[in-house]
């Protein structure tokens, strides 16, 4: 292979030896000389990726590496550094146990060099040393030890490939070869602070569809496909990804147009915030960069002649459901095929042969024909992929909870800046992505465990539908959320401005999905529970523990019932009853108040009572 593997530039940080080989003592050098992987291009990257190293970048590839290393570093923006600490101290987790994991023994270091002599790529190297990379902070100074070496190395590789592959960052060998260290530093300053620019872009994908039937929820499958398509096309450019939002680093504007075209082709519109700045001015949130441009990109015709598609209402309806579906997807016998193609379906049902009538049994149960556009028709014709939801419908399930987790990127930035006391870097965001993905996996597996796989439908990685026996079970979801948060983001549990929020809509299974989606999209509050869209519980994340505890306690059902009935007549009267020390149910109410008030307002407390009572 013998190509520079940018991710491996910091492997000397895995040892207790100096990161800059030119600072090694003669004896040290002598000890390891014969084992050093000097013939590999990667070795050049290891030894020449810093402007201040004895060996500095002297060719384009190592210069790109030097720039990528800076972009992927924690160093630049965090406040003052303190003494050395060997443990990781992620902002959202708090400090880990102090442990120096670096390779100290000569044999271990030789083994590392020998392995590097085999010229491994990043995946090969991770197979051997991933645990070490993940446990060693990139920077050991207190306050800087907030990201792992693994994240830094991976991110450096991404930046290196972005810089190297784009025409916007050309660097001829003549510009750097044979230059003195000072000349290279000047070149770096010019490129880093002025000439070279990158675009930081946040894209949120949205759909116009108002899904009503289970089959129409295929729009979420299409969203997932779109996200996969973009991540396959831009594997190095994605810094943070949720199920409907991307934070990207892009070298040229044309890539934003390309992403927007992909979205439009898949039937989505896109909310974009972008800013193009010199590398030295880049921040992970384009919203906080100067010159940020915020726009909603659609691709819609100025007018549509009727009929309009009944699902998305943004394209001409050219297909009839279910007639066109039957003709194109169901194999009818030739005479039935002809009958259906020439007459309205409703008028020929009785004339169909028995075999075809049996084939169409489910479709014929559908209430009314609909006019659909090509995209919505294609999505519906795929058939439902949400098998559980479909089964619950058939089994006559009554209650479900729609659960949506949301990561608010602006809040994430604010919270992390307040926790770190400075501006956050790309590496902190990349580190967060690792934990966020693991948090979602943990949440999903715990939800499966708690409710059983058959009673959970995973619609997106952050969006679930759960079959409930009673609405009170919604609090079990909160318990799972609390446990997963405690494991991955314990610091956020104490934050008033938590970037992670949860919204739950408890509803009958027949409650229209697009209404559920509207409620989820408009949900306000860190913890939000809606009961059929009519009543809500809102609470801050700081109250999560108390809320789950309060829900697990037993209450006198008649007292809760009385309270909710009074509230139906008068909210004020319910408040007075709740606070009345002479009321015969005061013991129950004071117990509720102790756990919930003042984190929850009265309206939320009454809804809580209604849910618990169910």
């Amino acid at each position: 292979m013998n190509q520079l593997v940018p991710e491996l530039h910091d492997v000397l940080k895995l040892t207790t030896r100096q990161h800059d080989i030119s600072k090694w003592s003669e004896q040290e050098y002598k000890d390891f000389k014969e084992f050093l992987p000097v013939k590999t291009e990667t070795w050049k990257g290891i030894t020449q990726h810093h402007l201040d190293f004895g060996l500095y970048p002297t060719e384009p590839d190592t210069f790109y590496l030097c720039v990528a290393d800076s972009l992927a570093s924690t160093l630049t923006r965090i406040g003052e550094a303190g003494s050395i600490e060997y443990r990781l101290n992620r902002l959202w987790r708090g400090p880990e146990e102090e442990k120096d994991v670096r390779l100290k023994e000569r044999e271990d270091i030789i083994r590392l060099f020998r392995f590097l002599q085999t010229d491994p790529d990043w995946q090969d190297f991770c197979r051997e040393y991933e645990a070490l990379l993940r446990n060693r902070p990139e920077d050991l100074r207190r306050g800087m030890n907030i990201t792992s070496l693994y994240t830094h190395c991976k991110l450096t590789g991404q930046f290196h490939r972005i810089l190297k592959s784009s025409q916007a960052f050309t660097l001829s060998p003549a510009e750097i070869e044979g230059k003195t260290q000072e000349q290279v530093k000047t070149l770096y300053r010019i490129k880093y602070a002025e000439k070279w620019q990158l675009i930081v872009s946040r894209c949120k994908f949205r759909f116009l569809q108002k899904p009503y039937r289970v089959r129409d929820l295929n729009i979420f499958g299409a969203l997932q496909d779109l996200m996969n398509q973009i991540s396959t096309f831009y594997p190095d450019n994605i810094l943070l990804q949720t199920s409907d939002e991307l934070l990207l680093i892009l070298p040229e504007e044309s890539h934003v147009s390309n992403i927007s075209e992909m979205a439009h082709n898949a039937g989505f519109w896109i909310e974009v915030v972008s800013s193009r700045r010199a590398l030295s001015e880049l921040k992970p949130n384009p919203q906080s960069m100067s010159g940020a441009k915020s726009e909603n990109l659609y691709n819609l015709p100025p007018e549509i002649f009727p009929p309009i598609c009944e699902i998305c209402q943004s394209a001409k309806a050219t297909r009839h459901w279910p007639q066109d579906y039957i003709l194109s997807h169901v194999g009818l016998c030739s005479s039935c095929q002809q009958l259906v193609s020439l007459n309205p379906l409703g008028s020929v049902v009785e004339s169909l042969c028995e075999a075809d009538r049996a084939q169409l049994e489910d479709i014929l149960k559908e209430p009314a024909p609909e006019e659909l556009c090509e995209k919505c028709f294609a999505l519906r014709a795929e058939g439902t992929k949400l098998k559980n939801l479909d089964t619950w419908n058939r089994e006559g399930a009554r209650k479900v909870a729609w659960v949506k987790l949301t990561l608010d990127f602006d809040r994430l930035q604010r919270t992390m800046e307040s926790l770190s006391g400075g501006e956050i870097s790309f590496s902190v965001i990349a580190e967060f992505q690792e934990d966020y993905s693991n948090f979602l996996k943990e949440f999903t597996s715990r939800i499966h465990k708690e409710f059983g796989r058959r009673d959970v439908e995973n619609i997106l990685s952050e969006f679930f539908c759960i079959r409930l026996g009673s609405f009170g079970e919604a609090f079990k979801v909160l318990e799972v959320y609390y446990e997963a948060m405690s494991r991955f983001f314990p610091v956020f549990l104490k934050e008033n401005d938590s970037p992670l929020t949860i919204a739950i809509v408890c509803a009958g299974i027949k409650f229209p999905f697009f209404e559920v989606w509207r409620i989820l999209e408009e949900a306000k509050g860190d913890i939000f529970i809606s009961l059929q869209g009519m009543r809500t519980v809102r609470a801050p994340t700081t109250a999560l523990e108390l809320l789950t505890k309060a829900a697990s306690l037993g209450y006198k059902k008649s007292a809760l019932h009385k309270l909710t009935r009074i509230e139906e007549t008068s909210k004020k009267l319910a408040e007075l009853t709740f606070q009345n020390r002479d009321d015969k149910d005061h013991a129950t109410y004071s117990r509720l108040a102790r756990n919930l008030y003042p984190n929850l307002d009265f309206s939320s407390i009454f809804t809580f009572a209604l849910l618990v009572e169910d």
Binding site: R213, N296, P302, E303, E310, A368, D410
Partner: protein
């Protein structure tokens, strides 16, 4: 340009959107241009009426309710599948009408019918004139109504910063019409203050 501000009240209003899945007809949560302008044009018999509005929530206003209704196909003497209709009760809102020769003569209080199910007691709206408002100076905010793109100038919408698009039906004759691209509630715009709400940053 100036607009006449009206308070609008109704006991029950069904500003229906398109039926979903042949079973459910949701209710619009704002007073769109096509709906109120159409109602006023019909009431006063003039075409030069441009108006839009929105609902004012709070104090138990604009509560959602549902009605199961079985449409009947008279020709076949058969009932269709029952439809679940969403409607609003105790409706309160604001309506803004562009001031021109046709609209200055509007009485201070009047009634119009708007929306669906008028024959079943829905849709009677009382409008009460409040004051004249100037559309200048426009401000940045979130649009509270739905306006066709070709009518944005009429409403002094100076700039669309972040649009939310959809389509409104525009009749072209008593029996036909076309869906025109329109700016929906939630769009970030520079517009007259009375048509927008402040931008909420979480």
């Amino acid at each position: 340009m100036r607009f006449i501000e009206f308070d609008i009240y109704s006991d029950a209003l069904c500003m229906g959107e398109r039926t979903k899945g042949g079973l459910f007809r949701p209710c619009c949560r704002t007073i769109r241009y096509s709906q109120i302008s159409g109602a006023l044009r019909k009431k006063f018999g003039v075409s030069e009426i441009h108006s839009a509005g929105y609902l004012v929530n709070g104090n138990g206003n604009n509560k959602t309710d549902y009605l199961i209704y079985s449409p009947r196909e008279r020709a076949r003497e058969a009932s269709k599948l029952p439809l679940r209709m969403e409607f609003l009760t105790n409706v309160k809102g604001k309506v803004y009408v562009l001031e021109n020769d046709s609209t200055t003569v509007f009485p201070p209080q009047f009634e119009v019918f708007m929306g669906a199910f008028i024959s079943r007691g829905f849709g009677l709206c009382r409008l009460k004139r409040v004051k004249l408002v100037d559309s200048d100076p426009p401000k940045q905010g979130i649009l509270r109504t739905r306006l066709p793109m070709n009518n944005l100038e009429t409403f002094n919408i100076r700039k669309i910063l972040k649009p939310v698009y959809g389509y409104l039906f525009e009749p072209t004759s008593p029996t036909s019409g076309v869906y025109v691209l329109s700016l929906f509630e939630g769009s970030e715009v520079i517009a007259p203050e009375f048509l927008i709400s402040p931008i909420e940053r979480r």
